[in-house]
């Protein structure tokens, strides 16, 4: 995937670009003690971190497609945890709902072995500033 640098934090918790789906990156993260919350389950913060990275990647891909060089500033995030994440690989993908000239709204979903049974949803808002 071009144009998507993995920041140090995402790299440290093991977030990678797994594959592309309809031109959008699908991110993945393996289970390990560094992302474990209560014993045997993923930490909500680590799931959120993965979904944030998926949201950023989806938005960067969309802006790149339009040929716009923008700096992203996260405004807020709302996360819904629907199932406990178990000891296996977790995937996440972002979907740009609206990207205007100044604000972008992106949804992200995280799932494990069953794509139709997401473990968490996130909605993120970004402020867009033209890159110098």
């Amino acid at each position: 995937m071009m144009g998507i640098g993995i920041p140090p934090y995402s790299d440290a918790i093991g977030v990678v670009v797994d594959h592309e789906e309809d031109g959008r990156p699908v991110m993945a993260m393996d289970f390990g003690t560094q992302v474990m919350g209560r014993p045997g389950y993923l930490h909500g913060g680590a799931i959120s971190g993965l979904m944030e990275m998926a949201a950023v990647a989806a938005l960067r891909t969309e802006l790149e497609r339009r040929g716009e060089a923008m700096r992203l500033k996260p405004v807020n995030i709302q996360v819904e945890f629907m199932r406990g994440g178990t000891e296996q690989r977790t995937f996440a993908m972002g979907q740009v709902t609206r990207a205007g000239r100044r604000v972008a709204l992106v949804n992200a979903e995280a799932w494990q072995e069953d794509r139709t049974r997401p473990i968490a949803l996130a909605q993120m808002k970004f402020l867009l500033n033209p890159a110098e």
Binding site: P8, Y9, M36, G37, H43, G49, N76, I77, F81
Partner: protein, 155 residues
């Protein structure tokens, strides 16, 4: 008595002590890896600290902490604030969390997460909190959310 690895593994007669529990949670798993530590607590609040570290950075050019570790800090601090108000450990799960990023944390500075439980029902707890890097009146982030008791009830 040997220390259980997690509050979830603690025997039924385990005497719950918040500062001890927070220290325990901060030695294992994601909290331990992040370097979360107990800072302070009161009857309905808990403060944890998140020291700045290079591999927790979100923007390499600026050294600003990523937002993920802030979410984890606030998830843990608000989670523990529920047990502070209950006066005991109740297994629960985060239902939702909303984080408003008010400004970037200053690179190199330790971030303090202040979590507060402002309402308990039998199965749902309501929480809020702020993250700051030295001055609580100039927060880095503001959070609200809910937890659900998964085994037993809060009240």
């Amino acid at each position: 008595m040997s220390e259980p690895k997690s509050l979830y593994d603690a025997p039924p007669d385990f005497v719950f002590d918040l500062s001890r529990g927070a220290k325990m949670m901060s030695r294992h798993g994601h909290g331990g890896w992040l370097g979360l530590d107990y800072h302070a607590h009161g009857p309905d609040w808990v403060e944890l600290s998140l020291p700045w570290r290079e591999d927790l950075v979100g923007v390499p050019e600026t050294g600003v902490l990523a937002s993920g570790p802030i979410i984890s800090l606030m998830d843990n601090a608000t989670s523990m604030s529920v047990w502070a108000l209950c006066g005991r450990f109740v297994p629960h799960a985060t239902l939702d969390l909303r984080v408003d990023y008010m400004r970037s944390a200053v690179p190199g500075k330790t971030v303090i997460g202040h979590g507060e439980c402002y309402k308990l029902t039998r199965t749902i707890s309501f929480i809020r909190g702020i993250a700051h890097d030295g001055n609580p009146d100039d927060p880095v982030a503001h959070v609200t959310g809910t937890f659900m008791a998964t085994h037993g009830t809060y009240l």
